[in-house]
Symmetry: C2
Subunit: 336 residues, 2 copies
């Protein structure tokens, strides 16, 4: 059984080994740059952890884990183009450092590379007794990967749609963040289990674990955007408020506020010109009046518990679950 | 054995059946629009023709054929964004009709859909005796598909690189059009043969056939851009000359012209302001002096013959090769 730290190192080392055609340097330089630009490698590590619940030989599925990480980095690259973002993890985005066409084409290539890594994993088949079960496991895992790659695109589209919408329902928002944030976590875990030929029940439980933890994490991110410590959070507080982002908090506030507060909130949303800090303070004040923080924390708590419950029900020795439990705790920065 | 016309109809009907999530309409409308916008469906038809050389049950690989067509349409969609093209087959491009972000994201989704079609082809496995050989065939075909998807991106990058280069060698140009144009034809044919469990030799011969015919077709396109009949060619004559596109003809002219002609050619290339028709006439005149038309026609002839030779060497009854032979003739608009 490997620790999160060990797995992260294994993933980072393997990412360095991905082969890229040196004759098309201008295509692969940005790809190398995007992949090297850090990140916690959460998704491939989760895949390896899930596999590791059932089998020790994690080297067999390294390529599949890399596929998920390359796919994730592709989404960041294209999202940055679409959002016209300038910086990613403290460095200029690919479309800033190079240009937009380079970012589009390098991103496309990364998506194709992700699928190549997913399908051309000779390590998985390098045993002498290649069996139908192995092929079936690969086929199931590929179907899950497809679900992830298409679902994330759908989530990105919904996110863009919501920008232009006045009223987004809680249910719609949760579905959007499920697709955009949770799906890669839940599918990473499920793929790990599928490749280990785990039972359907365990595959589904791991999927649920990832889904719930992912949702809890995204809601916590929304919460920290309002109530976080700027020194710890690393982003400017209030960004979502300034941009009228239809977060869980805003949706809940619009839903539960009395008519006066609701009117005030709508006025702030409609304002084209405003003082940034004044808007943040005013909206936060309304959130406070409506006790939105507690509502959000309760929701996070419930989702987290549901995720941990799915993990608890997994048909695997308790001690083997420790890395995944620790991972979830760590992700939510919880001590207990 | 199916005719080209029958296969085209089968492909067009099947394209209509591709499932798209109705809850994310804004994502799938442009995809439907792009797919419906015609085209000759050359690549999926070639795949089915190759399969049909060995087996009759072409319905088993329809999804694989669709995968290639959806992939091809994805490349057109993103290429149009990168080229800032306005129209595609007489209709506004997706990024014009909607916007650039929509075009990027819908394109990404099409690439993922192509891979889903490639991998989730239950029809291929729906026989009772699922065998290792079938899985192996799928695995080989997927590797060929990966080669195509990544190679085309590389070709597009080289094409963009060449715009900024002064001297592109013939060899470099041929490699670029091999990747950008030929590869999807050769890989379509090879995948069809692989899924039919044809011999490695036949798979390679079909690949060569597609590659050579594809190269011949692209060179003919270059030639028609200069010497074509505007009424038949459908594009404005001389577009490549105006844009200084490093085509086979320009490369050959720079290579073979005497110092006076070469200097003149370089002057026209360097000119920032010029009368369009004057430039076309001047460059065409130099091409005529250097007899570039004959050089190009000779090259096309050789490539075409090499392609037909590969087809002739295929270990399949001669009459079965008729559809592919007819296809090649038709593509080159040849009567013999």
């Amino acid at each position: 059984m490997h620790s999160q730290q060990e797995l992260t190192k294994i993933v980072n080392d393997a990412l360095q080994q991905i082969k890229m055609n040196p004759n098309v340097d201008r295509l692969y330089q940005p790809i190398r740059y995007a992949i090297d630009n850090g990140g916690k490698r959460i998704r491939p590590v989760l895949m390896l952890m899930a596999y590791n619940l059932y089998r020790d030989d994690i080297s067999r599925i390294i390529n599949n884990a890399l596929a998920m990480e390359v796919y994730h980095n592709f989404t960041l690259l294209h999202d940055d183009v679409m959002d016209k973002a300038e910086m990613r993890r403290g460095k200029p985005c690919v479309h800033v450092k190079w240009d937009e066409n380079t970012a589009i084409l390098s991103g496309d290539t990364m998506l194709a590379m992700a699928y190549r890594l997913m399908s051309e994993n000779d390590d998985f088949f390098n045993e002498k007794d290649v069996s139908l079960a192995q092929y079936q496991a690969m086929r199931d895992a590929t179907a899950t990967f497809n679900q992830a790659t298409i679902g994330v695109c759908e989530g990105q589209q919904l996110d863009m749609d919501f920008e232009a919408m006045d009223d987004v329902a809680e249910e719609q928002y949760m579905e959007m963040i499920r697709l955009k944030t949770s799906l890669l976590l839940s599918c990473s875990l499920k793929i790990g289990a599928q490749l280990a030929c785990a039972s359907q029940e365990d595959c589904d439980l791991l999927y649920t674990f990832g889904e719930k933890i992912g949702l809890a994490f995204q809601l916590q991110d929304d919460l920290l955007d309002v109530y976080g410590d700027p020194k710890v959070f690393g982003k400017n507080i209030g960004g979502d408020i300034v941009e009228n982002k239809k977060t869980f908090m805003l949706i809940k506030a619009l839903e539960s506020a009395d008519s006066t507060s609701r009117e005030l909130l709508e006025q702030w949303i409609a304002k084209k010109e405003f003082d940034r800090q004044q808007k943040i303070d005013a909206v936060t004040y309304i959130y406070n009046v409506c006790d939105i923080r507690a509502v959000c924390e309760k929701k996070i708590e419930t989702l987290f518990e549901e995720g941990m419950d799915a993990l608890a029900r997994l048909n695997v020795e308790e001690e083997k679950k420790e890395p995944l439990r620790g991972f979830a705790m760590n992700l939510m920065k919880r001590n207990s």
